[in-house]
Point group: C2
Chain length 345, copies 2
Amino acid sequence: MSKYQNDLILRMINGEKTERYPVWLMRQAGRILPEYRAVRASLSGFKELVETPELAAEVTIQPVDILGVDAAIVFSDILVVPEAMGLEYQMIEKKGPWFEKTIRSDEELHLISDEIDVADRLSYVFEAIKCTKRELNNRVPLIGFSGAPWTILCYMVEGEGSKTFSKAKKVLYSNSALAHKMLEKITKVTIQYLKHQIEAGADIIQIFDSWSGILGPAEYSEFGTKYVRMICDAITDVPVTVFAKGAYYARKELSELNCETIGLDWNMDIRESRAIIGDDKTLQGNLDPCTLYSDFTVIESKTKKLLNSFGNKRHIANLGHGVYPDTDPEKVKCFIETVKGFAIN
Amino acid sequence: MSKYQNDLILRMINGEKTERYPVWLMRQAGRILPEYRAVRASLSGFKELVETPELAAEVTIQPVDILGVDAAIVFSDILVVPEAMGLEYQMIEKKGPWFEKTIRSDEELHLISDEIDVADRLSYVFEAIKCTKRELNNRVPLIGFSGAPWTILCYMVEGEGSKTFSKAKKVLYSNSALAHKMLEKITKVTIQYLKHQIEAGADIIQIFDSWSGILGPAEYSEFGTKYVRMICDAITDVPVTVFAKGAYYARKELSELNCETIGLDWNMDIRESRAIIGDDKTLQGNLDPCTLYSDFTVIESKTKKLLNSFGNKRHIANLGHGVYPDTDPEKVKCFIETVKGFAIN
């Protein structure tokens, strides 16, 4: 007997037969909810929210209360890891993240360290998880997360968002030894970070490789999958989800990782992905987040079309990327309710 | 007997047996060359260069002289079409394109017109082509181009570059009738535009669908391929190349177009693409442009690896996207020379 009132997502991840598909949304805790914006407005900025455990817990739980999702995901940011390693970031309104210092040469490698006290440096995340677990009171499981090493390297080199991340790729192509040194350090810290999240109460871990899609197959294998594999091999206490956005060409390779779930973006055909990945993984995704700009009837029909494509039943309904901030919460509810009303035969 | 001193690319497109692979680079006329930057520095901005036929011709020919490519591509911008239709743009240094007016509702549709005198409104492009042809003096063929209708719509709606083009996708999902009206108008003008380019002397036409990859398979079929097909069906006098970046899922559909060549980005595996597309098309691409940040020996070996993957010999060597502005021209030459030194057996 599970300790959770709703353990649907855990049963699905474990490959059990369930009555319906579990559903949650990437970026569900955030700007789509007026209740989130109210909390956020009282603060100096995004980082204050990330670093204040009680408030992070509050916005983490909002979508459980308001939207009725089957899992919570801790409100945080993948960039807390590069910051803990030595590169402070700012989150600039309407622009995104910005790092004063970047690493583009061997001489700058000393700016990051993997010899840090992760428990102390990132204690605010672990406190947020503990606080969330108390407040959630076993209603639904809690997802913890980190960025994948390649994606974290992208920000460490580039210092900000980019369409091409060509500076990061330049390091990879012109100084692969430096790239591997960075990736090793990031991987080491990330494993500790995720283990502390699990100790604090995270029931599921998701690894976000947001920028995998800018690498070609050979490069992603060498600089991407290799390090995600190390993380998957090290995290054994809870199920792991790997979401490598855009890395359609790596689906076969990802299917061989020690992880339970593979996230799919909206470009990846469900049936084709299942054929490539096989029946041993749970698949998560993959409605185009922009579908939620449609009318209710279109959202309902496109969601049902997605659910009908779930051949072998081992699926978690989600978007193919984070929900966009200007999405009407009622449209999000329409997606969620459609999933909940769809019985698995 | 061809009128060109070097007609290799035309013979390859026609499926003839050739002695080596033809090679050119997307964005070869541009900031990688000091000779380009010298011309550009004497002007008020990017648009002055685009709109001055003699200078556009000069920078179009530079890579033929300096790099030794097998084709020239007219120096211009895909955004001249939305501008001709009514939406003026500025090219802002280090930021990219910016449109004062955008189309996001039915009420704004009147801002663009397809009842324009294309020959007059875009005469500077046709003059640039004529001037280039004169100066080239039949050394190599000249490629003309346009954006694909979906990509042009992206800019008309968004008004600037974007990582997600979620505003453009919002129109597509929330008001598909408006999207189709816009796409029809853009298609009509684009066909006229390309026909005038051919009349002026363009020997090959390339259609750039730079933002196809942000749509899922069903949406790209409805809003993307449909209009590219109309263009391909209308352009019958010269061979057409379709480059739909990121639309890996549409390769089968694209293979059925009335076009001779399909461009591949660097994520698309050559052998897999050939298996999907079949033997009847020439494939173009697809070295990762960031490869040119590597050492000469690495560039040479990765280029040879690419050439060795060209199974059925019907290939044009190119990058998988435009060359980055900070690429060393000597590295570009290394790529070109490696292709030229590689004999087809």
